[in-house]
Symmetry: C2
C-alpha cells in the first residue's frame, strides 16, 4: 500500500466493509480531522434490500449498486482500497492483508453475514442464497431457466418439477422472493410460452415456526400470508426442511414427512457471521454468539479493545428486551453514524452515551402493489404500505447515489408489467442440458 | 421437443439465431400462414451496437437486451426454443439438436460471427473481444480493475502498465471503445483515486491500414482521428500487432518494432463466421469465403438449396461494387425482412426480385458528444452527428422493446458524467491478486 496510507500523522480510522454500516461511518467522518481508509473486497456498495429484484429480473445489478470511490469521491480525507483483510493484530494496531499491512488507530469492522445452512452446507449448491450480486444472477438464471426447461419437457411429472419453486424461509427476503415468483409465473410470462401454462407453476414458501415474518406482529403476519395466497403462493408454516437431494425437497410438518419434487429451491432461511467474526475472536478474545456474531459493548466496541468497533449485521447488541438488534439496514446505518460521532468526540476528549437504536419501523414488500409495514404507530398492509415502502427506498437509494433512473425503471415496469432484466447469463451460454435425464444426484442445471 | 413443434401441417419456418437478422425475419412472418420456430442459445436478443457501453460501464446488460419470448409474445404462430443446433440434414429437411431433431420446410440461418485472432487464438485470453454480454462484462471488469491495481502499485513502471490501455482495431467498435476509455480516465474517474492521477492513463488505438474507420470516406476518418486525439487517445495507423505476451504488446509500424507494456488489451480487430457456416458447407456444399462466411445467391439462399437461407453477418453477398455487404445491423434487418417476404411470396407461388441493400448510411460514436456519420447525402462529425446517432439508436431500441428508460439513463449519465454501471463482478470477488508479481506468462488478472 502506498505511503500516503500509512505515514501521515492524523488519526487513522480503518473501516472494513462498504455495506450500510461501513459506508455511513465513512460518510459521517467526512469533515473530521482523521484519515479514513475503507477496505472492501468489491469496488461497489450494494443496496441489499433490493437484491431480490435483481434475482427476479426487474432490476440490473448496477441499478442497486454504486461505486464506493464515486460515493466517497468528495471525502478528501478518505481512501478506498480494494482488498481482503486476513488478520488483525490488536497489539501492533495493524491489519494483515494479502500483500501488505496497514496500521490503524481506530478499527471499524462491518463485514456483515453470509448464508447459513444449519450444518447442511452441501445444500448451498442446490439451494442458493441471496447476499451478493453473483447470488442474485444465479437465482435469476435458475428461475428463468426453469421455465425454459419446462417448455421443452414432455414428461408431465418432470415438467411439474420444473414448474415448482420452493422458497425456504418466511422472513422478509423469502416473502419478497415468493411474491415476485408468483408475479413472474402468473403475470410476466403468461403469454410467452407455447407448450406450458406458466400459471400452473407452484410457488411454495416454507417457514419453520408458526407464522411468516416472525419479527412482525402476528396480525401483520396473517395479513401478509393472506396477500401471498391471493397472489398464488402456497404458504406452509411449522414446516422444516429435512433434506434436499436429487431435486426433491423433503419437509416435515409435525409428524408428517412429505417429498416435493422441485428443480428450483431458493434459500432465505438463515445467516451466519462473516469470517471476520472469528478473526476478531481469535485476535481480541471477543465473545461470539451462536451464529458467530460479535457480542459488543454498549458503545459497539469489542470488550477490552475500546478502539475496535463492530457494527451492522456482524454485531450482536441487545435491545431493550434483551434480544439482539435485527440485521437490517437502519440498524447498520445508525451504528455507523454513532461510531463516527464517538470517534470525533474522543478526539476532543469527550464521550458519548451508549448506542441506542431508534426503531422507525420495518417494511417488506409482498408483491407488485402490496407491502407490509410495522411502524411504532402504524401497522399496514396493501397498496398504501407499498407506496410508503417505495418512498422509503427511493429516499435511501437517491441519498447514496441519485439513482433516480431506477425509479423511472420501476414506474415503467409497473405500468407495463415487464421484467426486462430476465436475461439468463453466465453458465447459461452452455447448451440447454436441463432436458437431459436427471437421474443422477447432480441437478442438470448444475452441470 | 413437444408435438406441437413438429406435427402441424403448416409450412414450418425454422430460424437459427435471434440477432437482428433472425429476429426481424420472425417479426415479419407474424401474420403469414406459416409456423415459425426461432432457436437461440440465449433467451434474449442483444442490441450489439451498444455493447461497448456495457463494456465501459455506462449501461447494464439488461438495458440493451430483450427476452426473445417477450418480443415475440404476440406472434401467435411463433415458438421460441432455447437450444443449440449441432447439424443440418438437408435431405430429410431436419435439424439435429442436443436431444432432439426438428423438421423444417424452410430454414433461415442467422448465427452471426465471433472474434478472429488471425491464427493467434492464444491472444483470446489476454485480449478479449466484444460479442456477448459476458465479453462485455469481462472487458468492464478488466478496465476498472486496472485502475484499482494501479492505485495499489507503488512501482512506477508497473503502474504505467496498469494505466495503459491498448485497443486493437480501428473500426467502429475500436473507435467507440477508445473514446469511452478516454472519458473514463480523463473525466469519470478523475477525482476517485488518491494515489494515481487517472489522467496519466494512456489509451492507444491501433489500426493496421493507413486510417481508422476504413469503411468510411477518408475525410471522415481524418476528422474522427482528430476528435479522438482531442479526447486524449493516441491513434496509431499502419500498425500491426505481432505479439501479445507477458503484458507486452509488440507492434510493427513499417520496419519499426516497438514493445508496449500494457495490462489491458481490448480486441476489436477481426471477426470470423460462427460454426454454422462450416456445418452448412459440410451438409449443403455451400461455398465459404476466407473468414468462413457463406457465399449466398442473390436471393440469400444457399446454392442448390432454395429453402435454406443465410442472412446477417454470416452471409457473404456482394454489393454493386463486388464487395461483401458489411456486417452491420441494417443489412441483417433488411435481409431478414426480405427472406420473410420471399417465403410469403412463394406460398402464393409468386417470386421476388433479388435482394438489394438500401444503404441509408453508417454511424459510429466517438465520445460523449461526438459521432461520425456517413450518409449518401451527408458526411458529418461532431455534436449534430452525435444527436443523429442517438436518435437512430433510440428509434431502433424502442422499436424492439420500448427501452425508453435506457435513454433517460443516458440523459442522466450525460448530465452527470457518471458511469453507474462500473461494477467489477464475476471473478473479481477474489481478493485483488493483480498486484502480485507478474513474472510468469499468465497475466495476474487471469488467475
Amino acid at each position: 500500500m502506498p505511503e500516503e496510507l500509512t505515514n501521515q500523522s492524523a488519526h487513522h480510522v480503518v473501516i472494513i466493509g462498504g455495506g450500510f454500516g461501513g459506508l455511513y461511518a465513512a460518510k459521517s467522518l467526512k469533515n473530521a480531522p482523521v484519515k479514513v481508509t475503507l477496505i472492501d473486497k468489491r469496488n461497489f456498495h450494494l443496496f441489499q434490500p433490493l437484491l431480490y429484484q435483481v434475482a427476479t429480473g426487474t432490476l440490473s445489478p448496477a441499478d442497486i449498486s454504486a461505486p464506493l470511490r464515486g460515493i466517497l469521491s468528495n471525502n478528501k480525507n478518505t481512501q478506498v482500497a480494494m482488498g481482503e483483510v486476513l488478520d488483525i493484530d490488536p497489539e501492533q494496531q495493524k491489519l494483515i492483508l494479502q500483500n501488505e499491512e496497514l496500521n490503524y488507530d481506530t478499527l471499524i469492522v462491518a463485514t456483515g453475514v453470509s448464508h447459513h445452512y444449519f450444518g447442511n452446507e452441501q445444500w448451498a449448491d442446490v439451494a442458493p442464497g441471496l447476499k451478493t450480486v453473483e447470488d442474485a444472477l444465479e437465482m435469476r438464471r435458475r428461475i428463468f431457466m426453469a421455465f425454459e426447461a419446462a417448455e421443452k419437457e414432455s414428461n408431465p411429472e418432470k415438467r411439474r418439477a420444473w414448474l415448482t419453486f420452493v422458497v425456504v424461509g418466511g422472513g422478509p427476503t423469502g416473502v419478497e422472493l415468493a411474491g415476485a415468483l408468483a408475479e413472474i409465473a402468473y403475470s410476466t410470462l403468461k403469454n410467452d410460452f407455447r407448450n406450458i401454462d406458466t400459471t400452473e407453476a407452484q410457488i411454495l414458501l416454507l417457514e419453520g415456526i408458526d407464522r411468516i415474518l416472525p419479527p412482525y406482529p402476528p396480525e401483520l403476519s396473517a395479513k401478509t400470508e393472506a396477500s401471498l395466497v391471493d397472489l398464488g403462493v402456497t404458504v406452509r408454516t411449522k414446516t422444516l426442511v429435512t433434506n434436499i437431494e436429487n431435486d426433491v425437497v423433503t419437509i416435515r410438518q409435525g409428524e408428517q414427512i412429505e417429498e416435493i419434487p422441485a428443480k428450483t429451491i431458493l434459500w432465505a432461511a438463515g445467516v451466519k457471521a462473516s469470517r471476520m467474526g472469528q478473526v476478531l475472536a481469535k485476535s481480541t478474545g471477543a465473545e461470539l454468539d451462536r451464529t458467530g456474531r460479535v457480542v459488543v459493548q454498549p458503545d459497539l466496541s469489542v470488550a477490552g479493545h475500546p478502539n475496535i468497533f463492530v457494527i451492522g449485521d456482524l454485531a450482536n447488541l441487545a435491545d431493550k428486551d434483551g434480544k439482539p438488534l435485527p440485521g437490517v439496514a437502519p440498524v447498520a446505518i445508525q451504528e455507523g453514524k454513532y461510531v463516527a460521532n464517538l470517534i470525533k468526540s474522543r478526539l476532543t476528549a469527550k464521550s458519548l452515551p451508549a448506542f441506542c437504536y431508534q426503531d422507525y419501523g420495518s417494511l417488506a414488500v409482498i408483491g407488485r402493489n402490496a407491502a407490509v409495514i410495522n411502524l411504532p404507530f402504524l401497522r399496514l398492509t396493501g397498496f398504501i404500505a407499498w407506496l410508503i415502502w417505495l418512498f422509503v427506498h427511493i429516499y435511501y437509494l437517491i441519498e447514496f447515489d441519485n439513482k433516480v433512473v431506477v425509479f423511472i425503471q420501476w414506474g415503467w415496469n409497473y405500468l407495463t408489467r415487464k421484467r426486462g432484466a430476465r436475461l439468463i447469463t453466465g453458465k447459461t451460454s452452455l447448451p440447454l442440458v436441463a432436458v437431459e435425464e436427471a437421474s443422477n444426484s447432480r441437478t442438470p442445471l448444475e452441470v
